[in-house]
Symmetry: C2
Subunit: 205 residues, 2 copies
């Protein structure tokens, strides 16, 4: 490339970046409302709960308090829970007592466990000190009809207005998506399970 | 519902759950390989970096060490960085020195900053003590051609074999997706920006 074309190239780049910056500045300036958000992470891909733990980390970094209800207890001791339990002054965590469905094989017991967890979630959603409440895998519970959808929607609609609530799990109900402010679908593009690779420490759990 | 139909309902549920459990048990038993994964979070939705911080939390929960290179430094002090910096014995973190592109308006300086950050990333990808390396927003750097794609792919292909590497950012290059083990696309379903709500503490940063 000749020196002249490099100079033109640089100038074109600077001009383009200046346009982008101006557009971004205008965009951010127009966003002024604060609001407690209802955030939903759904889809069949990875990262739904994981992104909720990332939000938790963000809150903890700012010294903000959170509540966590895990509606599904897996087979393994997850790193995120071990970690969150180290901050009892900032994190209130409630784990639904038993495994889930295909583990417990007992619908009545699962419904009772879901109910107990949800009652705790409702308390958290009114607690004045919390910045965020994460309802991990609530979508699974709703999908199995272990909690009445109307009651859950009502509790979300009447949450403390400035509280952020994050709901995770595949197959989010359309009514929940309708009620939400921010919805992300995690879409599976490629998964190592297909090649016989197992779920690994620090990645899957 | 009569008592008889409730009993049949329960039996049908138990049978279904037993089938699911058996299928899950078979599936997990067939997955035996351990492998350092190349994980990519891309797409235009939220949660790409956030899910990487969730993976970081998972590692920290298990006491595993990580390396983090942030290729884009935003306007604000992000909670996740404030937080990760509290664990210097577990987390090595490198932030690309300047803002980025539309902030700096200086292509040459951005390229030099990307190069310095990438050299650090290459060192991390060989470090024997790390369980995971997060290359946050590397896709953006590749998209602007601030680093040669071939060199990046080569560094990823020759990483320590049992190391997990997470690459985030929209517009992941097809060659990177091809090379990856686990790829998730975060798809925007609904965003509160549309209603004039601004990026908020503990959610957006």
């Amino acid at each position: 490339m000749s020196e002249g074309s490099e100079v033109r190239d640089e100038a074109a780049h600077r001009e383009k970046m200046a346009r982008i910056k101006a557009a971004k500045d205008r965009l951010y300036a127009s966003k002024t409302k604060e609001k407690g958000l209802l955030i939903v992470h759904t889809g069949t891909g990875k990262g739904k709960s994981t992104a909720a733990w990332g939000l938790a980390m963000r809150c903890l970094g700012h010294g903000l308090k959170l509540g966590v209800v895990q509606f599904v207890k897996g087979r393994r001791e997850p790193g995120e829970r071990k970690f969150l339990e180290r901050f009892p002054e900032l994190v209130t965590i409630k784990v639904m007592g038993e495994g889930f469905t295909w583990e417990t094989q007992d619908r009545e017991r699962d419904i009772a466990a879901a109910r107990a967890a949800f009652e705790e979630a409702k308390r958290m959603m009114q607690a004045p000190e919390l910045h965020m409440v994460i309802l991990d895998e609530l979508n699974i519970v709703l999908r199995y009809d272990y909690l009445p959808l109307d009651e859950v929607l009502e509790a979300l609609a009447t949450k403390r207005p400035d509280l952020h609530v994050v709901v995770t799990g595949r197959n989010a109900k359309p009514e929940l998506i309708e009620a939400a402010d921010l919805v992300t679908e995690m879409r599976l593009v490629k998964h190592p399970f297909r090649e016989g690779v197992k779920g690994q420490l620090g990645v899957e759990f």
